[in-house]
Symmetry: D3
Subunit: 248 residues, 6 copies
């Protein structure tokens, strides 16, 4: 089984971190390839960054389709391009926010999210709403760490994250914590150890969930509203998408 | 007041239709400029088309900012790039789905949506949910008309639309109909006449709502989660966005 | 265009304040007439005050219909008599709570309400629920100012309001504030200046929204549940309503 | 225990019907007095009728307070003036829609409402929403009978009602039916017999619920938002309310 | 009328307390019999305790059916076995959490729950959700008292409860308090006196509600999903249930 | 990894069917043991059957704990005893309704459920609500097949199921179907082939989800409301549970 883990930003260090975390958790027969778009933001901290990153995500999926990839993970906590990516393939496609919410709700009745910047909280709120987990999440918390600080300023970032997770544990009436950024994929174990309650991280959760779906023979439904997009012309810089769009 | 009406697809005929509808409804002092992206899909009929179109929408907003535009309308019923566009400006930005839902809920207690293709219904459902109108919409109906048929095959499309609107009127227990595509902007009056209940169309609704917001001195809040994106590098084909992102 | 702004209470000073605020914001071609009922409470601070005031509101609408008024604004934050008023006319009718919620949700993702007395918070909660904005409002706050203090004790009231608005800005994770009383219509600018984020006030919001609706040729739907009331006898002190009820 | 059953319309025949139904169901020690306002609509079939009727309802409650009434029932299915009435007294006040919803949800998992005119369905929908029963009600059905036909045209009305109730039973997947008009209070038994599943009627339900509350020593809370209205002046035709408003 | 009040735990002292509270509140013609299962947990403080206790509750209902009992109350705040019990009888069956929520929502717009242990809060949350009262309950609070402390350590428990109720009154913006444990049935009056706002207790509420339902001739619907279970074999230790299941 | 699949009913044939389906889908390193309670109903078709079956489920979990089982699946579509079972172990515990809802929502935007008997639909509705999937499920359909017919009358049952699934596919606007009974575990492939859209079955879904959770090192949270039950005495026939309750 070949899972393509797509880091929607263009910071190679983060792609490596995410890829490693994915590989560590993958089942023996699972091949992980971690990629990132050619073009886009170096980190994703706003709706704008997300919208731009979605193009690269979709091109990575189209590339994966040519290579026969079996499943996709979109490794940014806002799940950029998720619905669009599902239209492009029969394979399962998972977002890491989505994956983390599902897993957290299976081991606890209520969870909190600890994310990077407060301004991205609204993205998590919209996803909780759309996916059905609004009432399972007690609170969206931010450690107010810029995403790239997780790479560049690791110790300080980790210690702020642990502090915020402890406050979540003590104040929110929860059973689990969801980490709100793909860049935290390598910190999960240490945070869990320090905080002492289950900590769910989306990259790893998504890898195991896609393995599960592939194992079940389940992929994105092509009946109804996630069917392949109708073939059509794209113009200008996106003209290549007229070709790339899958057509069967 | 200068309102930029952005047609997110790249079909010039539709941009013209939308622009004219906007001009017809605009107040005397309002200047309407209708634009379309350089690059993108010729019509928007899926999440994929939407995600790609969002890039062009955002670039149009960035261009508008350099020109001193006062307000923006995103003239596709899926409101592509809406939240991201809001981050880029202090001006109001409205989506046409959003605008139509608001207006319909002010003149009726319950409405139905009549859109083009059934597969886009889920996009409307997600927006109704996020904006708060889930319980105000009785039903999302599709006439199963491809978007460009509105341009190329106008009479047949119109007659199918009128048929579906009549069924909505007679079966759904509603007070108003929302037309679910920017390309229907020039059909509103005829449909309303044939169907005999208020028909709300998003382009026109959005123009009047943005005039209202500008009149009130209200623009997109820069306090909190719609603040300008944090400045950062974009790579590759999107490198120009490192420059373009507003920074005050 | 003739907009009738109805102050549901019988305090002439407040009618004047509201009328002036409406006139200041109205478009050049808009004529504002501000009225108040002959009879009713001098201020509205409870469900009881609201229920009594609704009669006067409805009589003002019936009077407006005889005069050919084009649109109505009900200028009390509980929107007293709103659904009933809509039944009486083909014109648009807007409540100021409703108008403010709509406008605030177009420029921010989440807002808080700052109202007069805590006991009226439940009225706002019920309206948020009915209109669909429950999840857009983070918190309903009260400055604990009796409504008439806004008239009689302006400076102290203003300073309490500003204090409460600042707390909302700093603690609630919001992008905008909704002012929760028609009597605050003349304070918006000063509050906005002091607090530094968008402040949405209902009277002005409603005037611009009704202009927008009239501009669109949209009025209250007479198809379905907002149709004119069935003609019928009223007895006693309300016998005149047998005559007044519109009948076409 | 003295329960005042207030018929919000001014049709004496309906007051008598309602009073009798209440008396038949009341416990031995319960005294029922059925009253109607001096002034108002002869039937209630719209938001407008409701808003006007609320004044009479509230005056009946104020009169009841002077007489030492122990509990109130508002016997119209839209529960006109309910929240306002609660502010006026320490006694329990129940609406009949509310009472019927509560009782139906205790003996079935899902119910349907069968009411008079389709246009009043929205009133029921708003109440279901506010009270918390939206998901317990499968469908709001109308027999399209004007309210006074229940008085004047009893047999035809009854047969239409039975027909609609049977359709509800067979098509809606429910366990109980709620009758949607106070004027049906004397038809419950016959309908239940004909339809063969529990039929909940609001007047009788409300009488038993108020007996239950009084038996528990529970009355409307005066802590918080249902406290007595703040004393204030009312003007014109409502000047007497300045006096009447309770003040302890 | 014979109401069987079932204490789902096996602590006789609590059965006595509950029975007495029920008798004190019952109408003259009501006979109360308080019972407890032969087997089960001595107190109920978890989902596990609840699940085990449900068996005893259901056997008590089956026993009651043989004795001609007219109505049942399940006197534990998690309403264990409620839906199942309803299937076994035409009589009304009420849970005390359910009963308390209904009554509290009739005398206040918002209430808080004060329960024993924090860990049981999730049970109350799930019930609020299923019954429709999620938005009527501001907060679920726990005094962190083990259930049996109410029996064995009464004074300390009472004083903690009163403290928590006062905090609810002062901080939650509520009109009433719901006591979250059947074992508090004898403390209601004292708590209400100390706290000064309506305090709703479930055992007493349920007794009066079942009297009301019986008075109305309403019992659990046998049309649809609460019909008698299909007859079938039970094996092993539960073989006797093959016999006991009602069959008409 | 040792997964215990618990068939909550006592029909050995169904345990075998479920166990085989689980084994076919399990990963190479996964050991499946399929068990059933000593005592309980031979099939589960009501709340009553469910409540009784929960005891056996919980005893199977306690037995599993003594044997060092790594994860549990409760293989009945009502998820009987799920929350209680979670309290008993650090291992993951999944219900099959839950598992199927999660998986279906990852490959489609909307699904329908096809279950056995209409009367069990309410159980699915309550679970959808509690888990957060109410809006993802378009419709709960029943083929009106008694559970044991799946064993004893396989061909007729299969053909009814396929018919109902086809209607779901054609009428419901969905992307996937959830099979609503553990006894359908061996029919999934054939139904999927006949119906032509993804069919999600709970036993298999739950096995893969538990493998995923175990792979992630995630188990039921012992922080907060799913902590081990407080140790306590159980009486009578349940006295052995005083011993069995886990205590660390």
């Amino acid at each position: 089984m070949h899972i393509r883990v797509i880091n929607p930003n263009t910071t190679a260090g983060m792609t490596a971190t995410i890829g490693e975390a994915a590989r560590r958790i993958a089942a023996p027969g699972t091949h992980i390839s971690a990629t990132q778009p050619d073009a886009g933001p170096v980190s994703i901290e706003s709706h704008f960054d997300e919208a731009i990153s979605a193009v690269g995500v979709l091109e990575e999926v189209l590339a994966g389709e040519r290579e026969g990839v079996d499943a996709y993970v979109i490794a940014c906590f806002g799940d950029p391009g998720l619905m669009a990516a599902r239209e492009l393939t029969r394979a399962p496609v998972l977002g890491i926010a989505e994956a983390a919410f599902h897993m957290a709700s299976l081991i606890s009745t209520r969870f909190s999210i600890v994310t990077t910047l407060g301004r991205t909280g609204i993205i998590a709120e919209h996803l909780l709403e759309q996916y059905g987990f609004r009432h399972h999440c007690r609170r969206v918390r931010a450690a107010e760490i810029p995403v790239l600080d997780l790479e560049e300023n690791g110790d300080a970032a980790l210690s702020r994250l642990i502090g915020e997770c402890r406050r979540a544990r003590d104040e929110d009436g929860i059973g689990a914590i969801v980490l709100g950024c793909g860049g935290m994929a390598d910190l999960t174990d240490e945070i869990a150890r320090e905080v002492g309650l289950p900590v769910v991280e989306g990259v790893t959760a998504a890898v195991k969930l896609t393995e599960a779906l592939v194992g079940l023979g389940l992929g994105t439904s092509k009946h109804g509203d996630l069917a392949f997009p109708r073939p059509k012309a794209f113009t200008g810089r996106f003209a290549h998408l007229s070709e790339l769009t899958p057509r069967r």
